[in-house]
Amino acid sequence: MPLRGTGSILAGIPFAQVNRVPQVLPPLAVSHFTVACAAACGIDALTNALQTGSSGLRPNDFSSTALECWIGRVNAIDNVRVPDELTSWDCRNNRLAWLGLQQDGFLDAARALVARHGADRVALILGTSTASIGATEEAYRSVDAQGQFTAPYIAPMLHTPHSLVAFVQHVLGVQGPACTVATACSSSAKVFAQAERLIRHGLADAAIVGGVDTLCDSVLFGFNALQLVSPEPCRPFDARRRGISIGEAAGFAILQRASEAPRAPQLIGWGESSDAHHMSTPHPEGLGARLSIAAAMQRAGIDAGDVDYINLHGTATPKNDEVEAGVIASMFPAGTRASSSKGWTGHALGAAGIVEAAVSLIALQHGFVPGTLYCDEPDPVCGPQIATRNEDRALDVALSNSFGFGGNNCTLAFRRGAGA
């Protein structure tokens, strides 16, 4: 089917070279999902925060050296201890993973899933951008006279991108495919695509997906060096936006064949693409974003007019929001609603995909469009789709955009469950 807004920009790129036109997917049930982020821990609390406009952002009180910015810090991590038998995995990122697993009965649901299908038939695919690099930073701040790591930083598994998956795998006892996706800020969106493929091609019967990223000096001073950090709370799509507010979050979801949870909301599509433009700046016309959105809609078997709500990447950097607003304005009809929830959570980087998948599912289940917190004066580049204030509205289909460094893009498509 023709897709609005993709014609001219795709001219010169044979579509078969981008991806074969994808088949419509059989939907998967998202039977459980949970989030722990700066705005709230647990889905009910996050729903309430979204409905009341209660932001989790606050002035930076985290970095090792003062840096003027706002952050999305999860207070509850301070009281979390991983279980005694798991102390060799102890670090801020795995504490947040453990906190996330405790929300909404997720740990019990995941263990029941493993018991029902068999440990070797459940995949574990999690996304992260920096994993436990905060522990590596601490280790570098406390090297001995010979320049070597000291206790408690000797454990090799604290110093690898795979630390999160290895920890959660140990907690849940899963023995199916277990893989870390680390594509920066698209990581925990792409896990849905990878897990969906594994299930459809028979390598697993169900999957636990999600992602965790925690505040650390690397990202605070790294984005600061790129001049992308806002000195005030982030204002996605506002004409006066000044950059991102970095956040941290853990989130998880269970994917199963639709027949196993017929009333649950569904993952109906995904799209992935590459900008092939620049390591840390989006393609000026949003080519990669258009490709991932188009591919997600094709796999979902829907047209732009079927999309009720889009949770945007919406980081509040000048360039991301300009490009993404232009893409949405040209691809979707005026009636589609679109917003960024980063004003609530901050940009949780590798965990942004799972957080915003959860926000999209909340919006579908509760029938409201979250506005764009701190967007008081929309940039003139915004089309009529951008929602600045919350709106009550029945929603059937939502998309969620996640775009990362390296020009790595992913769009997910969800449908409301019958259980709402």
Binding site: Q17, Y140, G147, S218, S274
Partner: protein
């Protein structure tokens, strides 16, 4: 996948100590030539722009070198290939520089070093250099990243009904990270894989997942030593089996709890 996944191998690339390309390495992989396993010079991958080659991190150079060789052998346009890049650690030298800077003077962190520190830096540079707009991913599974990448690449080829590019790479470790990550060589390999029905290649692999078992050891002593020196070299027993030009079967780790049984059919 009770029947396993069948996949054609259209192109292979390799870069490591004494292993400067697939053709140049076949005799060593068959055990009929010696390998000089002192660390080799940095490669100059043909598809990376000269300016990028000068400033690119080692992981990007190693990965792009192997990828370019595999793509050339396959005859496929790199711009058309979804990319699966697998690495245990990404670029350790960048991580070392970044963490050392953060410990001393965090406000002096280089923006380039920061954006090069993401695990998907190599695949990001590759897609930019080749103009590839297809899906690209960067995965890790600790010391089993090679097997996990192979599984994901085979699934993507099957799912997309198209050829894909798999690159498996890790760099030499530096600084205090030599403790937890004892890599003392850089190593990269690459494969262009395609569904058999879409391919003219005769070399095929059959992949079957299985509970974790000990991986097959390398045929050659030098290779067995090398796969202890860089986790990405754990793909060497597969490369040896392919170089033998005879049917073979081997196991490779795909995760701490899962192995891949690979049948090689020349």
């Amino acid at each position: 996948m009770s029947g396993g996944i069948e996949i054609a191998v259209e192109g292979i690339g390799i870069w490591g100590p004494g292993l400067t390309g697939w053709s140049a390495s076949r005799d060593a992989l068959r055990g009929t030539a010696e390998v000089d396993d002192t660390p080799t010079a940095k490669p100059a991958p043909p598809l990376l722009p000269v300016a990028e080659r000068r400033r690119a991190p080692d992981t990007v150079l190693f990965a792009a070198q192997a990828a370019a060789e595999a793509c050339a052998m396959s005859g496929r346009d790199p711009a058309s290939l979804p990319c699966i890049f697998a690495s245990m650690q990404g670029d350790v030298a960048i991580t070392d520089t970044m963490c050392a800077t953060l410990a001393q003077a965090p406000l002096e962190l280089s923006p380039i070093k920061f954006h090069n520190s993401v695990h998907n830096a190599a695949v990001g540079y590759w897609t930019i250099a080749t103009g590839c707009h297809a899906a690209s991913t960067a995965v890790s599974a600790w010391t089993d990243s090679a097997g996990a990448g192979l599984l994901e690449a085979a699934v993507q080829a099957l799912d997309g009904d198209c050829a894909v590019l798999l690159v498996i790479y890790d760099s030499m470790s530096v600084g205090p990270l030599r403790g937890p990550v004892p890599h003392d060589i850089g190593f990269a390999s690459a494969f262009v894989l395609a569904p058999p029905a879409r391919s003219k290649a005769t070399l095929q692999l059959r992949l079957q997942t299985a509970p974790a078992q000990a991986a097959t050891t390398a045929r050659n002593a030098w290779a067995q030593a090398m796969l202890q020196r860089n986790a990405s070299a754990r793909v060497l027993p597969l490369l040896e089996a392919i170089a033998m030009d005879a049917p073979g079967e081997l196991r490779i780790g795909a995760g701490s709890q899962q192995s891949l049984i690979l049948q090689v059919r020349p």
